[in-house]
């Protein structure tokens, strides 16, 4: 509705913004600095990025949400769009939805049709004319938007100065000038957000999911890593490199993923907790090695930052479609661990937990992260570092008895002698073997070891961390990973409207926890399964391992856009026949 007043009752609490621009416009830099400035000002918030396939140039957009309260995901629609230019903006159709009456700031009035269709409030001003030739428009954008959400100039100047520290005084000053010009222009508009009373940053962190995962791994004791570059996991590995070294560990760039997984096996056999990060195509190449780790009971952790598939797919975009390869992609009977973090901060916990479980249970763990979480930057209350550390059951050989590396024990985990341990000599093998690890093709040995490898995982008590649960009621929402955020958000909205729902977000996907799931589902009459996949991999998984009571519905689609909380609410509305829940953007 052109001309109507600001669009959203929540606008004073919480705002969503897009900064878009073509090659070299610097939209992402502007977004990152805006988020950092917002954090310093005392806001919560988050940012994700949408980029095209080009290495440099091409279209790109920073998607931000800035809020006075903690937030875990985007809202369904964006309130503000600042187009530094409109290059290839059309490619974001289907990915970026503008709220009706959204505010659009742009330099020229060639607004694309699909933007106009959202009936926004366009504000054209030729900001390039306001800038000196060497001043950068994205710094104008930063200053302008920062001012509109009440961030003071000193904060903006500080984040600019830090970011361009390596480029010299001149550049810094020029960028600060451009931001100031933006801030001055902002005075023409009503503020978009009322900032918190205090600048309260010290107990806050600004961190991405990939960084949090790497930090979790270090906290749990990982001191060896090997990886081969692949989007969107490389930033995790590159963050890890210098830090693991500073902790006395190492990162190797392997020649391929077959090498990296086998290097992990070597290091872990040597007693050093080991980790790799990859994405779908790399995981596919690691499966044979992961199976070897299952068979030889060698702990290790692989983080798969999922991207859209199949095959090379869409390397820069998110999806939840490596679930089945992670669960089932090993040949033979190969029980192992699969875990999934449900948010940026949960990457810290879940990765640390994965390391701890892998070490304790002597088996590989696959952590299914996804681009949506891994490359999301988030402001959050500083978490405690997980106090889990790798605890491997080590052998203390005594006397001349041969090492019983694969002996039957009460908890089915056999003590492991690592090289250097006198008297513990043995040779793990990918062949089936007896309790001493000697190759055996006898059915009895095979069955005994198959059973033990499965039982050690099945019998372990994983405690309450297996899933995150909220709420009560006869309607259950089940989601995982990046689909947790819209599920939880929709559930809260439902509750706010008086509709009871419960949410179950399994963090431990394998081994399945039938008893715990049955307890979690007690009294449930309707189930809604939510996932970012086309064929319903998560639904199939749930059906295979659990008894889902009553009416079961699936809400799913693949692709970069992900699942919106509004869609979840609409699906609940359908299931419960409550039309009220369908209104486009409920108060959050």
């Amino acid at each position: 509705m052109p001309g109507s007043k600001p669009m959203n009752p929540a606008a004073k609490q919480d705002i969503t913004l897009v900064i878009a621009g073509g090659g070299g416009a610097g939209a992402l830099t502007a977004g990152e600095l805006l988020l950092k400035a917002a954090a310093r000002r005392g806001y919560f918030g988050l940012m994700t990025r949408a980029v095209g396939p080009q290495i440099r140039g091409g279209e790109s957009a920073a998607l931000l949400r800035i809020s006075r309260a903690p937030v875990a995901a985007h809202r369904d629609m964006f309130d503000v769009l600042f187009a530094i230019d409109w290059t290839n903006y059309a490619r974001f159709t289907g990915e970026i939805a503008l709220a009706p009456g959204a505010r659009v700031f742009a330099g020229a009035d060639d607004m694309p049709q699909e933007v106009a269709a959202a009936r926004p409030l366009p504000e054209h001003f030729d900001f390039r004319a306001l800038l000196a030739r060497d001043e950068r428009p994205n710094m104008f954008t930063l200053g302008f938007l920062a001012a509109l959400i009440g961030i003071e100039a000193d904060i903006v100047a500080a984040v600019i100065a830090e970011r361009f520290a390596h480029l010299g005084r001149e550049v810094r000053a020029r960028n600060i000038r451009a931001a100031a010009t933006g801030a001055a222009q902002a005075a023409r508009f009503d503020p978009l957000l009322r900032p918190p009373a205090a600048r309260a940053p010290q107990e806050r962190w600004l961190i991405s999911g990939n960084q949090a995962a790497a930090l979790g791994a270090l906290a749990a004791g990982v001191r060896f890593a090997a990886a081969y570059p692949i989007t969107p996991s490389s930033d995790l590995t590159e963050w890890l490199g210098p830090r693991i070294e500073a902790l006395g560990g190492q990162l190797v760039q392997a020649e391929d993923e077959l090498a990296s997984i086998n290097m992990l096996i070597g290091a872990s056999f040597g007693g050093v907790p080991a980790l790799s990060a990859t994405s779908g195509p790399g995981l596919a190449l690691m499966m044979e090695g992961i199976g070897l780790a299952v068979m030889t009971e060698t702990p290790l952790v692989v983080i798969d930052v999922q991207r859209a598939g199949p095959s090379t797919g869409i390397p820069t975009r998110s999806e939840q479609t490596d679930l089945e390869i992670a669960l089932y992609g090993l040949h033979g009977e190969a029980p192992h661990l699969v875990l999934a973090p449900m948010s940026v901060p949960d990457c810290l916990f879940t990765t640390a937990w994965a390391v701890e479980l892998a070490e304790r249970l002597q088996t590989p763990a696959i952590v299914l992260s996804e681009q949506r979480i891994g490359q999301m930057n988030m402001i959050l209350d500083a978490p405690a570092l997980p106090d889990m550390t790798a605890q491997r059951k080590l052998a203390q050989p005594a006397g001349d008895d041969p090492c019983l590396r694969y002996a039957a024990t009460a908890d089915h985990v056999a003590p492991m002698a690592i090289p250097g341990t006198a008297g513990g000599m043995h040779t793990p093998t990918g062949l089936e073997h007896d309790a001493r690890g000697r190759p055996s093709s006898q059915p009895a040995d095979h069955l005994a070891q198959l059973r033990r490898r499965q039982e050690k995982l099945a019998a372990f008590d994983y405690g309450d961390h297996w899933a995150h649960m909220e709420g009560e009621g006869a309607m259950a929402l089940i989601g995982w990973g990046g689909a947790a955020a819209p599920v939880l958000e929709a559930a809260r909205q439902c509750r706010a409207m008086g509709v009871e729902v419960r949410t179950i977000i399994p963090r431990l996907l394998a081994p399945a926890q039938p008893d715990r799931m049955a307890a979690a589902l007690a009294g449930v009459e309707r189930v809604l399964v939510v996932e970012n996949s086309h064929s319903g991999q998560f639904l199939r998984y749930l059906r295979a391992h659990y008894d889902l009571p009553g009416e079961v519905r699936s809400l799913r689609h693949a692709g970069p856009a992900g699942i919106a909380a509004g869609e979840v609410r609409a699906a609940i509305a359908d299931l419960l026949h409550i039309d009220d829940l369908k209104q486009p953007e409920a108060v959050s």
């Binding site: 954090a39 940053p201 806050r204 962190w205 600004l206 961190i207 960084q211 930090l215 270090l218 001191r223 060896f224 090997a226 830090r243 500073a246 902790l247 006395g248 560990g249 190492q250 190797v252 392997a254 020649e255 391929d256 077959l258 090498a259 990296s260 997984i261 086998n262 290097m263 096996i265 070597g266 290091a267 872990s268 056999f269 040597g270 007693g271 050093v272 080991a274 044979e288 090695g289 070897l292 030889t296 402001i379 500083a382 570092l385 041969p402 090289p419 250097g420 341990t421 006198a422 008297g423 513990g424 000599m425 043995h426 040779t427 793990p428 093998t429 990918g430 062949l431 000697r438 190759p439």
Partner: protein, 273 residues
């Protein structure tokens, strides 16, 4: 230890699955002699392999071992040696394991030059899978496994290792376990990645290799003066000559074991706003 260490001390109690007369018995003997000569501590030694008849070797030793999957022994060994520089790491495998499915890792291991020793038991055949041609099989051999009109040139392991950067390159013969033991001893002493190509007959699928004992020219290779000379010999030399072909002269510091300069909590501080 003050007792005298005997080669037999390094043998495990497992009976090899090898066929009677297989060359790999000689390699096992040579390895135990080299270990004894070096007085390696059993629990400080790890022997890593892939899959193949030759890759069964580690289990016949009473050291640590790891019998991984086909073609990936070098990455396993690299991870182990990097994580545990205190260990002596030896890698064993066959011509299929190292030169066919593992060819990429072979090259990258030579480039990376991690301090470990590779023993390739070359019988110019896939023994374990019953006789298919390997990269070192000559074009004269035909086999139902390959009908395509391609006549692959045999893989030249020595030359490839030299070009890829290995600092120690030698050839031994399983039928001369003492000579082989001396070569392996030097290879383990070499402070970097060492490649020993071992002629080790498969008496079942390449019975003509039983003649190798008459054809091998022992100690015919002596370290070349420079890399070009070594390479020329590797390209045009006698395939039955054994000895050390190339040994790069260098002072190599034992890599300083990684040490921690900080802790995780300090690293996490960087995330504070």
């Amino acid at each position: 230890m003050t007792e005298i260490i005997k080669p037999a001390d390094y043998k495990s109690d497992l009976k090899p699955v090898w066929c009677p007369g297989c060359g790999d018995f000689g390699v096992l003997a040579a390895v135990t002699r080299a270990f004894a000569a070096l007085e390696l501590e059993k629990h400080q030694t790890a022997v890593i392999s892939g899959i193949g008849c030759s890759s069964r070797l580690p289990a016949y030793l009473d050291t640590y071992g790891y019998h991984g999957v086909h073609g990936r022994a070098l990455p396993v060994a690299t991870g182990l040696k990097l994580a545990r520089p205190d260990l002596t790491v030896v890698v064993t495998g066959g011509d299929g394991d190292m030169y066919s499915i593992g060819a990429g890792h072979f090259i990258h291991a030579c480039r990376r030059d991690v301090n470990m020793t590779l023993l390739v038991m070359d019988n110019r055949v896939y023994g374990m899978t019953k006789g298919q041609p390997s990269p070192t099989t000559g074009p004269e051999v035909t086999h139902p496994m390959s009908t395509a009109d391609v006549r692959a040139r045999p893989f030249n392991a020595l030359a490839t290792a030299l070009v890829a950067g290995a600092g120690f390159v030698a050839r031994g013969f399983s039928g001369d376990p003492d000579g082989l033991a001396r070569i392996i001893t030097e290879a383990i002493r070499h402070p970097g990645f060492a490649v020993v190509e071992i002629l080790s007959p498969c008496v079942v699928y390449r019975p003509e290799q039983k003649q190798w004992k008459h054809q091998v020219r022992r100690d015919a290779l002596i370290p070349a003066a420079d890399l070009n000379a070594a390479l020329e010999l590797a390209m045009n030399g006698d395939e039955m000559a054994t000895g050390i072909l190339w040994r790069e002269k260098r002072e190599r510091q034992a890599p300083t074991p990684p040490t921690a300069r900080t802790d995780v909590a300090a690293i996490a501080e960087a995330f504070r706003v």
